[in-house]
């Protein structure tokens, strides 16, 4: 890590840790998660809340903490530009980027590199026509 990158990491930490509780994952998606850092979720969820959110909106693992994704959803509703971005399917975390500067990775495009098998066209988008023949059927 060169001096420039080390300085960048220091600045990013100084700004984003107090503001967002940033965990320095190096692949920042804050604007897609209502400006709430998803890496504070004990399950490292990048795509929304788990099914264990308590009735009062708190975390099942750390009940004293409000669920990161409840806060993220509320935050996303307040964003002028990126309101719908919380609905984007986020790729798996690249754990090699932990501790690096997300600003440098954004500039280089490194934070958008995904594994070759992470196909954008897989999943339901490919088979919208493969629909249930009928819903709510009876035995």
């Amino acid at each position: 890590m060169n001096v420039f990158h080390a300085a960048l990491v220091a600045i990013e930490k100084a700004v984003k840790i107090p503001l967002f509780g940033c965990r320095m994952c190096g692949q920042c998606i804050l604007h897609e998660t209502g400006l709430v850092c998803p890496m504070n979720c004990p399950k490292n969820l990048r795509n929304g809340p788990c099914g264990g959110v308590l009735v009062d909106g708190h975390c099942e693992v750390r009940p004293q903490m409000r669920c990161v994704w409840v806060r993220a959803y509320e935050g996303s509703l307040r964003l002028p530009l990126w309101k719908d971005h919380i609905e984007h399917l986020q790729p798996p975390v690249d754990w090699r980027l932990q501790g690096t500067s997300s600003w440098a990775n954004l500039a280089s495009g490194r934070d958008r590199q995904v594994p070759a098998g992470w196909a954008a066209d897989a999943g339901a988008a490919a088979d919208g026509s493969e629909a249930p023949s009928e819903t709510g059927g009876r035995a």
């Binding site: 264990g52 798996p92 709510g136």
Partner: protein, 325 residues
Amino acid sequence: MSPKAAPRSRLEWILRSGRFAVTAEMQPTNGADPEEVRRFAGGLRGKVDAANCTDNPAAHPHLSALAAGAFVAQAGVEPIVQLACRDRNRLALQADLLGAAALGARNVLLLTGDDVSAGDHPEARPIFDIDSMHLLRIARVLRDEGKYLSGRALTARPSFFIGAVENPFAPPHDFRPARLAKKVEAGAEFVQTQLCFNLPRMGEFMKRSRDLGLLERVFVLVSVYVARSARAMRYLRDVVPGIDVPDDVLARLEKAPPGHQAEEGFRLALETVGALREMPGVSGVHLISIKGQDSILRLIEDAGLLPRPQAAGFESALSAWPDAG
């Protein structure tokens, strides 16, 4: 991929043909005896369309879901093999997806999983390398594109019907239909919900999912629990995260005298199944009880869900097993 692809499992065939599906949760076992698993599965044979083999439920270790799935298939019941992201990284999950398919799993159910703090090994290191959305997409890429997440090619593709879970009853409620949409985008073809005690909330979730166009793309099976006592219901409400037991539901069980609470719990489950059969968009029910499956079998019988439709062709998948009867 052909839009008219043949169903990969009996469960998929039943859902695609518009019939109301019935699945049940297998009792997890705590030993190395396959007979224990086959005995539970044998009791469900012909009564359910598929049975879920859970993956260390509530973060307690049990006989593995992969092994259970193979024994369930041997007993003549179609397994739904569950895989959770808590205990394995992306390498192990892909290995187990292939292994499950090779062992005869025609359905998989992919989830994030409870945290280790919920179980009897709270000191364990939780993995959570990827989340359930990622696992759904990976399963879809293995199956439909014949490659690992890395892009490396498979020699033979797995063939399974891909399921997910959703909890319409946990906050943030307004986001839950959007989260289902994400799961569908990731690759889910059916979902099983968290236990349903709140029918109005369930109905609202279905309505919003329909408005998002999701019900043309995914089948929703709603979980119904047969409660044995008011105490058990209070435990679910107060101790198990993510379960919504409305006050009037709990009060109904509490009002029944102690000797009659099990019967009241059964009646509640029966009425819930009836209501779900009438709820627009609901494609089936997933039945759960603890301590024995007799109440599930009685529920299937009393709800008029028998006989289960028999699909020609899927028995052959099971008869590949020498022990299949």
